[in-house]
């Protein structure tokens, strides 16, 4: 290859490769299309690192093995897709209550039900609003290219550890299956601090420790919930990520994440060529959602278009972020039908026309 | 008197019937069917005893046997 540092890699493999390079040494998972290249890569490469790949008997077992491993402080991961992620919701809620760090990847596919293996973004609500019981949040990262799959996987381990939180990488069948040249790199820190005061390692020479989510004393659970809430607010303050394209002078700002954002980029450059002032906001963190920045942008631009591969989910967060006088349109394709750049260009230009009228 | 018929478009050319037939009646031909498979053909029709072994083994229910 002419450019020596580039590796032509499938999205799923980029994630797995990044995880190992980020110091992830344990992977527990159960097969499901379209993410199987992740466990397969792990099965092939983890043994050589001294780590372990273990195929669990189900997604429920996976997420619970993850609890057991995360409690020891090592970097651990699982991955799945729609139905499997649904089965993990009790575990997600426990992760939140237990305040344990780990990374979960959802290479999402069609739903509801068995659906099929094509790409959708129908799991946005499940990811950001909490599909499990109780008041909790995950950090949710939404990459849109192979390189970003790689980079954000590393970031996911860092954020998980920084906040003792489950971090979800929300991809889809397109991102998981696409092959692109990427540049791998190794972060400086590839393991958590071994001295963290909550690690479960056996009570040698110290008081016994406990990982739990049951708080019984009067008001103790409420306190715990507010503590979690405070943490979520810190995350919203410090760790929002987004990308903006051409927003400065935009009459219309499209908001889209993940693979749709990528398709939107094609549509937007077409639109700019046609003289339409269109910009893009691409939330990279879905939680924390870039509320503040959207609110700012809504001070100047009054028209927004949210494009998703679902019947309308992130659009709610966009509306909740923007000033009351902004107008928000929605374009959605659910059930595995992926909009083409042409589809998006025509909807963008339609909206621009409406604006002029 | 016995006969085996191949439903060509169902056949995927796996040859399990070829192995199962004690009389070497069947073999994989050169032709490709619409599914893209080189299907089985009745090479020695006269040797068929109608024992049904081929049909029992055919995963695609592509064979019918008369006797």
């Amino acid at each position: 290859m002419s450019s020596p540092k580039k590796v032509f890699t499938k999205g799923n493999e980029a994630i797995a490769m990044a995880a190992i390079n980020a110091g992830c040494r344990y992977y527990f998972g159960y097969p499901i299309t379209p993410q199987n290249e992740i466990p397969e890569y792990m099965a092939e490469h983890l043994p050589a690192t001294g780590g372990e790949f273990l195929q669990a008997e189900s997604e429920i077992a996976s997420i619970n093995m993850l609890i057991g491993a995360a409690a020891t402080g090592v970097r651990v991961m699982t991955s799945s897709s729609g139905p499997g992620i649904s089965l993990m919701q009790e575990g997600f809620s426990y992760f939140a209550g237990n305040e344990l760090p780990a990374v979960v990847v959802n290479i999402s596919r069609q739903g509801p039900g068995l659906g099929g293996i094509n790409a959708t973004q129908g799991d946005y609500f499940q990811s950001v609003k909490g599909g499990g019981h109780g008041d909790y949040k995950l950090i949710v990262l939404a990459p849109h290219t192979g390189q970003e799959l790689y980079d954000l996987t590393i970031k996911a381990f860092e954020l998980a550890e920084k906040y003792r939180i489950l971090t979800l990488i929300l991809g889809d069948a397109i991102l998981g299956q696409i092959k692109e040249p990427i540049v791998p790199w190794i972060p400086e820190k590839t393991a958590g601090d071994p001295d963290r005061d909550w690690l479960i390692t056996g009570a040698k020479g110290r008081e016994p420790r406990l990982i739990k989510s049951l708080f019984l004393a009067d008001g103790e659970m409420e306190k715990h919930c507010w503590h979690l809430q405070e943490k979520y607010e810190r995350i919203e303050r410090d760790d929002v990520m987004l990308e903006e394209v051409d927003t400065a002078d935009a009459d219309l700002i499209v908001v889209a994440f993940g693979s749709v954002a990528r398709i939107v980029k094609s549509a937007i450059s077409q639109a700019r060529e046609a003289g339409l002032k269109v910009g893009l906001v691409r939330p990279i963190t879905l939680f924390p959602f870039p509320r503040k920045r959207l609110f700012e942008l809504g001070g100047r631009t009054k028209h927004f278009l949210v494009a998703e591969m679902n019947t309308g989910q992130m659009v709610e967060d966009v509306k909740l972020s923007l000033p009351g006088d902004c107008q928000v349109e929605f374009y959605g394709r659910p059930g595995g039908s992926v909009p083409t750049p042409e589809d998006l260009y025509s909807i963008v230009s339609e909206n621009c026309e409406k604006l002029q009228a | 008197m016995a006969r085996v018929d191949v439903e060509i478009e169902r056949c995927k050319g796996c040859a399990l019937c070829v192995d199962a037939c004690p009389e070497q009646v069947l073999k994989i031909g050169k032709e490709i069917n619409l599914g893209g498979y080189q299907h089985v053909i009745v090479a020695n029709p006269d040797d068929c005893t109608g024992c049904c072994r081929c049909a029992e083994m055919c995963p695609d229910v592509a064979l019918a046997v008369w006797r």
Binding site: Y30, P31, I32, T33, N36, P39, E40, A43, E44, P47, E52, F53, L54, Q55, E57, S58, E59, P83, G113, L114 | M1, A2, R3, E9, R10, K12, G13, C14, A15, L16, D19, A20, G35, Y37, G50, C52, R53, A55, E56, M57, C58, P59, D60, V61, L63, A64, V65, W66, R67
Partner: protein, 250 residues
């Protein structure tokens, strides 16, 4: 001349989507023949599982409910409790039944739910592209056991038939294969018995069928078929481990 072998009436005419040489097709046919034998088609409800056999409904001319992965036994139990005069069967792969669906099949068996379970053990996850199953043989390579299944890490291939035979609930627990015309005939008989148990209200019947997956074993159909006798049967011995009284049906 009389037609001595034809497609059973409980089957539709749609060609299977299975890979060349895959035993799923034989097992489908044997189940349909059992339904024909007892004239059950119009009162049968099939429960499809998630795996290569998910399209059951395209091939059986019966009412079908598609189950979530692994939960077919629970779905079938729900149906049968309501319609206890209908015949309810599930058709499940080894990933579906022996991994994610372990609890559901064990408890349906333990309750003696009057349903029939056809368990197709091809020692691999077919539909998802060849990952290790709980039934994958020691040393067998799969996409998630690229260095071969290792008993220290992954444990031994699980014998569901032996485990279920330990329970009080089942009326029939048996393992068969369809790798030779003779074994197909034996399998036909056992599958018939399984449905007969249900017809007679005798409770849970379970037939494990050793099966090939040429695609994910990376073998030709013929070599895959040979592997059944060479590797599968020695570890998963054929035979009926548990059987309540039954009139012979063949």
């Amino acid at each position: 001349m009389k037609q001595v072998f034809k497609r059973p009436e409980s089957m539709t005419s749609k060609p299977f989507h299975f890979c060349p040489g895959c035993h799923h097709g034989i097992v489908h046919r044997l189940v349909a023949e059992a339904l024909d034998h007892f004239s059950l088609r119009e009162k049968t409800i099939g429960v499809a599982s998630v795996g290569c056999s998910v399209f059951l409904y395209d091939y059986f001319a019966v009412d079908v409910i598609e189950s979530p992965h692994g939960r077919a036994a629970a779905v079938a139990a729900g149906t049968k409790r309501v319609l206890n005069d209908r015949i309810v069967f599930t058709y499940q792969g080894d990933g579906d039944l022996a991994a994610i669906g372990t609890a559901e099949v064990i408890h349906a068996a333990n309750r003696g739910d009057n349903i029939t379970i056809i368990f197709v053990n091809n020692s691999i996850y077919g539909m998802t592209g060849g990952q290790m199953a709980p039934t994958t043989l020691l040393g067998q390579r799969s996409t998630t056991s690229p260095y071969g299944r290792d008993c220290d890490r992954d444990g031994y291939p699980i014998k569901m038939t032996e485990m279920l035979a330990e329970l009080e609930g089942p009326s029939l627990v048996s393992r068969v294969a369809v790798n030779t015309p003779g074994n197909v005939k034996k399998a036909r008989k056992v599958i018939r018995q399984a449905f007969q148990m249900q017809v007679e209200g005798k409770g849970f019947s379970f037939v494990e069928v050793l099966s090939t997956c040429p695609t994910n074993w990376g073998m030709t159909p013929q070599a895959a078929n040979d592997r059944i006798a060479e590797e599968m049967i020695p570890y998963f011995p054929l035979g009926t481990l548990k059987q309540k009284d039954v009139v012979d049906v063949l």
